[in-house]
């Protein structure tokens, strides 16, 4: 018995001594997007250079990730050392003190190289709180062959009227070709991303400077009427349940004349392995109304304040969002596959510009996005296709359901706007705005 006890004490002592020498494990929460998955496969140089750091990946569906990470960060659960979050969350979470500032990433990191609209959206009081992994805006993807057949020439930045006119001309319902495919599925990140951006370009904001909802305005009525009308006349059937992936599938199988969506879609529709129309796709900037339609999204890596490995986490974030990582991806998989939309230097690199035909449009779209001035009038919030307040996820989805119902023909545009106004007024009063 005494021997056994001695053995146990000895084993415990050895284990206790071994703990500091054991590798530190970083748990990284991420989404299942192509660039993120590529990053998981590319980490060998990092783990070789840092043998004391082990990486544990947790990949989740976007909404599950958001719910899971929010719960953990808000309760200081400390389950994650690095989280993948969008630029919508970063300023809100930074304000709550949930994220570590990333203002001292070292000279090699070259933080000044980050595209200004992206860096602005990830900063609070001049401090960067998340490092952008890839950034995106919105553009129009269109079928060059169908446009040629209809005698149309797509301008670099068309007007909404041109888009609607072209959509009608290209539509051939008997051949299952629909002039325009747009998001219709209800959700703050689905139909409301598109409609918020479109309405802003019509001069229709979500709120005035006193945080009063603006769905009763003429500009909103015109924007939503145009959206529902063109989708009814030239959109695919069942559009009210189409999100990014459904439209991607429609476009790739040759059923859409035009599709306006996130710039990341360009790499999918031009990939001959997935797309039947890969060699027939043209690109144009998002349409212009009273102002160009703006869109800015970045998937970023942020470090929760509750992490117990801040230094190792910072080291990894610095590596994954560095220029060196971009070059490593280019060497392994070609320049067309590097994460786009975060650094100015990438858009000065001729090899990249040659490999990605949509690179210049992506750059122009991102640079023209102004988070603080998304529409023609002054607004109290930041955001282009979203509104940077914590209540927007629930509110955006509730309003999105009304607009989706209008598209499905279950409500008129007037009814949908009236309901949206009521919902927004109620929710904003409940949340205590104006604050």
């Amino acid at each position: 018995m005494t021997d056994m006890l001695r053995g146990l004490i000895g084993a415990s002592a050895v284990m206790a001594l071994a703990v500091p020498a054991m590798a530190e494990t970083l748990t990284i929460a991420t989404v299942n997007n192509g660039d993120m998955i590529r990053m998981q496969k590319m980490t060998k140089p990092f783990t070789d250079a840092n043998p004391d750091i082990q990486l544990e990946w947790v990949t989740l569906e976007e909404n599950v990730l958001r719910q899971r990470v929010t719960t953990d960060i808000a309760t200081k659960g400390g389950q994650y050392d690095i989280v993948t979050v969008g630029n919508y969350e970063v300023p809100i979470w930074a304000k709550q003190g949930w994220l570590m500032p990333l203002d001292d990433m070292g000279a090699d990191y070259d933080a000044a190289d980050i595209l200004p609209p992206i860096a602005d959206g990830l900063s609070l009081d001049g401090k960067l709180y998340a490092a952008p992994f890839y950034g995106e805006s919105a553009m129009i993807m269109y079928r060059k062959d169908l446009f040629e057949k209809a005698g149309l020439t797509m301008p670099e930045r068309p007007t909404w009227d041109f888009v609607f006119d072209a959509a009608r001309k290209v539509t051939d319902k008997s051949a299952e070709i629909y002039g325009i495919c747009l998001r219709g599925k209800a959700g703050w990140g689905e139909n409301m991303a598109f409609i918020t951006s479109m309405a802003a370009s019509y001069g229709a904001p979500w709120f005035d400077m006193q945080w009063k909802p603006q769905f009763g305005s003429e500009a909103w009525k015109k924007a939503l009427t145009d959206y529902v009308t063109i989708m009814t006349e030239a959109g695919p059937p069942g559009a009210s349940s189409n999100g990014f992936n459904e439209n991607l599938a429609l476009f790739q199988t040759g059923k859409c004349g035009m599709w306006m969506d996130a710039t990341v879609a360009a790499s999918f529709v031009s990939n001959p392995k997935e797309s039947t129309v890969a060699d027939k796709v043209g690109y144009a900037l998002a349409p212009e109304g009273q102002k160009p339609a703006m869109w800015l999204w970045a998937w970023t890596l942020a470090i929760p304040a509750s992490t117990d490995a801040p230094d190792a986490a910072k080291k990894f974030v610095g590596w994954a969002t560095s220029k060196a990582y971009t070059e490593a991806v280019a060497a392994a998989e070609g320049w067309a596959n590097v994460p786009p939309g975060t650094r100015t230097s990438l858009y000065q690199n001729q090899q990249y510009l040659d490999a990605a035909p949509f690179a210049k449009l992506t750059y122009d779209s991102i640079m023209s996005a102004d988070l603080k001035n998304p529409t023609t009038v002054e607004v109290p919030y930041i955001g282009t296709q979203w509104v940077g307040i914590p209540e927007f996820q629930a509110l955006g989805t509730a309003v999105g359901q009304q607009f989706s119902a209008a598209l499905a023909g279950q409500a008129t545009v007037d009814q949908a706007l009236k309901m949206a106004q009521q919902i927004a007024e109620r929710e904003m009063a409940k949340a205590g705005y104006p604050k």
């Binding site: 748990t27 299942n32 997007n33 990949t59 989740l60 569906e61 976007e62 659960g77 991607l248 997935e274």
Partner: protein, 276 residues
Amino acid sequence: MARRVSNRRRWFFTILAWGVALAIFFPILWTILTSFKSEADAIASPPKFLFFDWTTENYAEVQERSPYLRHFLNSVIISVGSTLLGLLIAIPSAWSMAFQPGKRTKDLLMWMLSTKMMPAAGVLIPMYLLFRSWGLLDTRLGITVVLMLINLPIIIWMLYTYFREIPSEILEAARMDGASLKNEIVHVLTPMAVPGIASTLLLNVILAWNEAFWTLNLTTSKAAPLTTFIASYSSPEGLFYAKLSAASTMAIAPILILGWFSQKQLVRGLTFGAVK
């Protein structure tokens, strides 16, 4: 004449049963078929049923990207562990309710069932905080206990129903022969209720295997079961149906096989007491 009608009826019900069974099985079949398609074929319109280029590349990619075995082992430990733990508590509870009912037994049973009506999201934050304080986040022990607790009302209800079918005179006879309470439950009641206990066990293993709210929210990586493995293959931007189908097929295969082999017990368990 009577025989012909009954034959016709038999044919009718046979075809109806097959039709219903196929309709229920079709989504699973479609998932399995999709898992062998390329991403482009998975979204083809009109859909391709059998004539497509069969490929196993989705399985290869899923194997390469995710530690399937770890998730599988976690699923087994959590679902079997929570069910056994539940049975350990439920057998004595159901015994007392079936054979020694008090004035409030019915109310107690209803109250236990009512806890299943509470929306899980409503208690997520308190549970998360408790788990954090007790260091149970992302541990097999923690999630096993939670799944045991959420399935306990069902286990007790099922066992209670089976026990009520057993004549209490047999237990009385055992008592008259001098059996202690422990012996009465372990050596007399339990062997007689084996079919009922077996079907309760199977059904609860399946329920725990499929549980996706608590397993997704209280585990991260070390204790994460197959539900989190499936969740990692849905993508907001990019096609994923074929890979998701491969992951789903791998996740449901073990429980599908278990269900296939134990369908007799399952059916018996679910209809126990309904027809005498």
